[in-house]
Symmetry: C2
Subunit: 234 residues, 2 copies
């Protein structure tokens, strides 16, 4: 068993899943007009001005209900999947030294942010599926995840020296656990309001999703500023 509790077989499966999401052949199709002009990846993906004959539709750019989930949950899952795909695509091939690169004394590393995304799934999982009050996590959970959740000084101190697979595995593991729980729930649960949080469950998981996009934007910004980086600035 690995440190993260996965058998080698399970690891392989997870890597395959991540590779499927990251390498579904969409990179060349999801080109933004800014990308087409060599300006980076911040503008929204859009077809090139003269699109080639359309390849078969890829589910990743169809937002809507998904088999195995109730309709609203499935739609949210399709959003989580797209956002995760976009982040994994943006870090594909990033080397350890670049994952550990600090732009300035205030910055987070790309690796730190990837682990932060796994921590976010983990903590929202405990809150929404296990009913734990925010911050009341067991010590073992805090020890594993608090540096990643807090980032800043703790993140810079504790999160370094890992390759991309390490982070992708943590992200995939926590996300798979999230999806397994979402498959057991229904749209009524999704709309349930939590007075302590002042938000409903759908906000919580949508927030996990848009929070991932927010860090995705920062990751792309940092990628344009790695030593030796070429091309766009964000």
């Amino acid at each position: 068993m690995s440190q993260s509790g996965f058998s080698p077989e399970r690891r392989t499966l997870l890597k395959a899943t991540a590779a499927l999401a990251a390498g579904a052949g969409l990179s060349s199709r999801l080109r933004s007009d800014a990308e087409a002009a060599g300006k980076g990846a911040t503008a929204p993906p859009a077809p090139s001005p003269s699109p080639r004959p359309a390849p078969p539709a890829a589910e990743i750019t169809i937002i809507g209900p998904r088999k195995g989930y109730t309709p609203m949950i499935g739609t949210l899952v399709s959003m989580l999947n797209y956002t995760r795909w976009a982040v994994l695509r943006s870090v594909e091939g990033t080397k350890q030294a670049d994952l550990d690169y600090l732009l300035d004394a205030k910055a987070n590393t790309i690796g730190g942010m990837l682990m932060h995304l796994a921590a976010t799934d983990t903590y929202y999982h405990l809150n929404t599926f296990q009913g734990m009050k925010w911050g009341s996590w067991p010590d073992s959970v805090k020890q594993k995840w608090d540096s990643a959740m807090t980032l800043g000084d703790a993140g810079r101190r504790d999160i370094k020296g890992h390759d991309l697979d390490y982070y992708v595995e943590l992200m995939t593991e926590s996300r798979e656990r999230t999806l397994a729980e979402l498959r057991k729930r229904d749209d009524k649960w999704l709309l349930t309001f939590d007075p302590a949080f002042k938000a409903n469950n759908q906000w919580k998981w949508f927030h996990v999703c848009e929070h991932e996009s927010s860090h995705g934007g920062q990751i792309r910004f940092l990628k344009g500023r790695l030593p030796g980086a070429k091309g766009g600035g964000d």
Copy 2:
């Protein structure tokens, strides 16, 4: 009539709408654990460790159907509203010099990114509601929006010298037009697949939403690096 085609009365209404979204009293409640530790705004909002008695629920953190829209469209609108609220909150009070600040030669300004968000709504509006092929915009549209959509050199050259109200007004105007069109459509339309785009309409507008979060992350990163900035680094 102003340059953007709004009467003074309309301007006032728009500003009030934006102020409502930006200042709904949630700032103190939507605190992340990282914020609580003075580390910035990148971690997901969550209640403070010892939340005070809950104030009345704010609709902004309830993701779900909305009056005046079909169920799936309303849910997507609630996501667009939350994301817009988060971006407006992050730039509240930003002065013109800071909106024009360039971190380095590759960077976009905060003002440029805000106008980019308005351009994104505008172009997806033309594509999804008016059926225009991506990039086939009228010259008048290109002249007004292409620099903002492309960013990079064009954005740095053309977008500067404006105060925050200028950008908020453009963002609100384009978004109001989007919402007006969404009110006329239904969930079947939302799930309609566009072969030229290789995506359905819900992906397009979800992408507008998560793309806004992505730039929101970059805006927060830049805010932590403005001349004289204190506190968190991203």
